[in-house]
């Protein structure tokens, strides 16, 4: 069973089409990176998965259940960390733990305390007195303490400095390994996704342009640099300029003229190519 399935999901904010037939699958136990530019539809997708929004069209299944009417029992199995957590400013970390914990039958108070210590979140400091990074870590602790089956993170490191970001990501990886939780996190930071995710989804203009393993993506897309113009044969599709995509086997079998340089690309280069084109990888 997949942890998350979206089928032809459409969502509009008034006249603005946020999602335009999005299809996506997140497998159980994996860490899934959701990549896209600002406004691509990442936050909308995660809000739909949390039941905070309702799709105009399409089916969404989370942990095997439809989210058309998100029941509390399903929500209790999902952890959610948003970009800027709006905690009650007067509550301390402990008070927030006590408040949030009362909504989850599976809440593990000891685990919450352990997470606070591990993430270096002061227990008795009010949320209003915490830095953005500490608040995000607190959000992660609150999301993980009920031991959710699915953890949704919406650009959790967006407001963090590079050191805090690295620290957060390391801890996230450790926790995911430890808990075996399915993690779906969105980001527009390609390096971060490359470091953390086993599989990625690239969303652009409200629809998914690629979904799969990072290695498979890098095997499909390459740059052909040549002194003279080289035109690959059938099965190759130009993404942008000198960047082409094709089945990995075709790249190996192709006979390249002398002088032609075929190079693999970083995920960032591939993402940039997708971000500026309408192509879709099958």
């Amino acid at each position: 069973m997949n942890a998350v399935e979206l089928e032809s999901v459409i969502h509009r904010y008034g006249k603005v089409q946020a999602l335009d037939g999005l299809n996506l699958t997140v497998r159980q136990g994996e860490m899934f990176g959701f990549l896209g530019r600002n406004g691509a539809g990442k936050t909308t997708t995660l809000k739909l998965l949390m039941g905070l929004l309702r799709p105009d069209h399409g089916n969404i299944t989370v942990l095997g259940r439809s989210v058309k009417r998100m029941p509390a029992s399903l929500k209790q199995r999902i952890g959610y960390v948003c970009q800027e957590p709006n905690f009650y400013p007067w509550m301390t970390a402990d008070q927030l733990g006590s408040f949030v914990g009362s909504f989850y039958p599976t809440w593990d108070a000891a685990e919450f305390q352990r997470l606070l210590r591990m993430l270096d979140v002061p227990r008795d400091r009010r949320a209003s007195e915490m830095s953005g990074g500490t608040r995000t870590k607190l959000g992660l602790a609150l999301a993980l303490a009920p031991r959710p089956a699915l953890l949704l993170l919406d650009e959790p490191t967006a407001g963090l400095d590079p050191v805090a970001r690295r620290e957060f990501n390391d801890q996230l990886q450790a926790l995911q390994r430890e808990h075996g939780t399915t993690v779906m996190f969105s980001s527009h930071l390609v390096g971060e996704v490359e470091q953390l995710a086993q599989r990625v989804g690239i969303v652009q203009g409200g629809s998914c342009r690629f979904e799969g393993e990072v290695g498979a993506l890098r095997a499909r897309v390459r740059r052909i640099g040549a002194a003279s113009a080289v035109l690959p044969g059938d099965g190759f599709t130009q993404l942008r300029g000198d960047i082409w995509q094709a089945d990995p086997a075709l790249w190996e079998e192709a006979a390249w003229p002398p002088g032609a340089v075929v190079e693999t690309l970083s995920l960032e280069d591939i993402f940039l190519a997708f971000a500026r084109t309408d192509s879709v990888l099958a």
Binding site: M50, L52, L53, R54, A72, S73, K75, Q76, Y80, C82, P85, N86, F87, Y88, P89, W90, F99, V100, S102, F103, Y104
Partner: protein, 616 residues
């Protein structure tokens, strides 16, 4: 759900505590002052009226507005609790707190009223149902408006403006609308009948507001309320401010005012010719006819002097309850026109004074009360007297003597005659109508003589003969009195003060012998504390013991913003010796007190020792 309730109570505990303390303080004060209100149960009425809406606003502000404006509801939404549950918890918690507070107040009031008021279960239920229905309505309205986020102040302003406009134009009696009818002052005095219809309408409106609240809070996955709760941008603030000002202007300017029908007196004699004057018949009809013709002739002369073409009808009603030199203008809520009252058949009826009063009343009506503004009121009072007395030397001599006596009284008081053209209303209040009218006549006659008849006529026309529009334009575009004085070549007010004082000085010298014969008794008002915290006010005119010439004590309690006190609001006690006012007053009450005595040499009542003071 319990976690949500605990969270709310913990978050707002200090505010709730402060509110409960305020409520307890208010309840205590109200109960202590309940004796003055007629019944201890009146304290509960005051609490419901004052604290009910206030507490509803505070609770909604804390429970709803703070949550949405702080965007913490976004955090709540990520938890396994539905929007409906959150809304229900907030709504029910607020109304429960409000009703509990109300119940506590009712309980405290019942304890205090035990033994003083007959308390039956039926009566207590009546009071409780009326109070609870009103509080339910207040809370439902506050909650619905609170959800409109940044527009809530605008909505409140619009609501208040609409209510005030409806009330002011007299087309709608808001006080009779069901929710307000329930908290009418009679609320705690009605012992038998429950106003079922008012209760049903109030609760119906409240339920409709609850439905609107749910629709607003849950529509579009709550995104509507979230959008409304964003703070206003600078552009939006500017647009709203300008829009609001324009709306008020538009309300004021283009409001279609329903013209009131003219006042008609069925049984009256009417002037034979000239402007229409009706006089109610009291005593012999020929005398009434004579008065009607005289008043009509006065109106015609005033019409010619002020350049008016169609003066409205004037009606004079007999009122034997008044003194001969006391006149009143009737308020006409449902009719238009000028109606004045006097004791025509009283032997001491001051006919000339009444004629001038009728003219002044007519000019007040014509200028839509603008001529009564403090900077120009002396001109109005004086011109009316001047028009009546200008061809009557005996009347002029009487007025001159009264004016000189008025100046003598003022000379011993703070401000003296310096304040006359600046603070005429307070001088008028100190002197009483008879002396003030005479003094105004002296000032006007002096001004007319100094600047010449044509200029004085032009000045009078620009001040008294203009009928301004019945809306905000009257205040915005009407020229100031100083500008009008300058425009017509009259001295400014500082110069006028000096010139008047020269005239007053000459008159004091001329009439010194007559004035010296008029005794001015020592008048004294004093407050003495009774048992408890109430005070009684003692008065004395002349010696403490023994009889003195008849006098009247006038008094009234003052509100914080009370300006001019109409004669009909003054309570009166007649006496011939020192005494005590027939009322007790709470500490801190502001009072107006004065003593009036008829002075034969002046031919009218003279007001002495008038002042506003506070009981300490």
């Amino acid at each position: 759900m319990r976690a949500l309730v605990r969270k709310e109570l913990r978050e707002h505990r200090w505010v709730l505590l402060a509110m409960l303390l305020l409520l307890a303080l208010g309840q205590t004060l109200m109960l202590r002052g309940a004796g003055m209100m007629g019944s201890p149960m009146a304290a509960f009425h005051k609490i419901v009226v004052l604290m009910g809406p206030l507490m509803a606003l505070v609770l909604v502000n804390r429970l709803v507005v703070r949550e949405y404006m702080g965007r913490t509801q976004l955090f709540l939404e990520t938890l396994p609790v539905s929007r409906t549950q959150v809304l229900a918890v907030k709504w029910l918690l607020g109304i429960a707190l409000l009703l509990l507070a109300l119940a506590a107040c009712l309980g405290a009031t019942l304890l205090a009223a035990r033994g003083k008021v007959t308390l039956t279960p039926h009566y207590v239920a009546l009071v409780a149902i009326r109070g609870a229905s009103f509080v339910f309505f207040s809370y439902a309205l506050a909650f619905a408006v609170g959800l409109t986020g940044r527009y809530r102040f605008i909505i409140w302003s619009v609501l208040f403006t609409c209510v005030a406009t409806a009330e002011a134009t007299g087309q709608l009696a808001i006080a009779n609308w069901a929710p307000f009818y329930l908290i009418h002052e009679s609320m705690v005095y009605e012992r038998l009948v429950l106003p079922v219809q008012a209760v049903l309408v109030t609760c119906g409106v409240a339920v409709a507001l609850v439905v609107a609240t749910c629709a607003l809070a849950l529509a579009a996955e709550g995104s509507l309320v979230v959008a409304l709760s964003r703070r206003m941008s600078a552009r939006e603030i500017s647009a709203v401010t300008i829009g609001f000002l324009v709306m008020i202007m538009a309300f004021s300017v283009i409001e279609a005012r329903k013209p009131k029908p003219p006042y008609k007196l069925a049984r009256a004699v009417r002037s034979a010719s000239g402007p229409a004057v009706a006089v109610g018949i009291a005593g012999p009809a020929p005398l009434a006819q004579q008065l009607a013709d005289t008043l009509s002739s006065d109106l015609a002369r005033m019409q010619a002097f002020l350049g008016l073409t169609s003066p409205a009808a004037l009606t004079a009603l007999p009122d034997d309850a008044l003194d001969g030199d006391a006149f009143q203008r009737a308020a006409l809520p449902n009719a238009d026109g000028v109606v004045v009252r006097a004791a025509f058949t009283n032997d001491a009826f001051d006919r000339e004074g009444f004629r001038a009063y009728a003219l002044a009343s007519w000019m007040q009506w014509h200028s839509r009360e603008r001529a009564t503004e403090e900077d120009r009121r002396w001109l109005l009072d004086g011109t009316a007297q001047w028009l009546v007395a200008r061809d009557a030397p005996p009347r002029q001599e009487t007025l001159a003597l009264r004016a000189a006596f008025a100046v003598r009284l003022l000379q011993g008081r703070p401000g003296g005659t310096d304040k006359l053209v600046y603070a005429w209303n307070s001088a008028r209040e100190e002197l009483g109508p008879c002396l003030a009218d005479a003094l105004a006549w002296k000032m006007v006659a002096s001004l007319a003589q100094r600047i010449g008849a044509p200029r004085f006529q032009a000045l009078s026309r620009s001040v008294l003969a203009v009928r301004p529009p019945d809306d905000a334009r009257a205040s915005l575009f009407a020229p100031g009195f100083d500008g009008l004085l300058e425009q017509h070549g009259a001295p400014d007010r500082a110069t006028l003060t000096r010139q008047f004082q020269q005239v007053f000085g000459a008159e004091q010298a001329r009439l010194a012998a007559t004035l010296d014969r008029i005794a001015i008794p020592q008048v004294r008002f004093s407050a003495r504390r009774m048992a408890g915290k109430a005070y009684e006010v003692h008065y004395q005119a002349g010696p403490a013991a023994g009889e003195v010439p008849p006098f009247s004590v006038l008094y009234a309690t003052l509100g914080p913003w009370d300006g001019e006190l109409p004669a009909e609001l003054l309570a009166r006690v007649d006496g011939t010796r020192a005494g005590v006012l027939p009322a007790s007053f709470a500490r801190g009450t502001r009072l107006f007190t004065a003593l009036e005595r008829r002075e034969a040499a002046l031919g009218c009542s003279v007001r002495l020792a008038a002042r506003r003071w506070e009981l300490k």
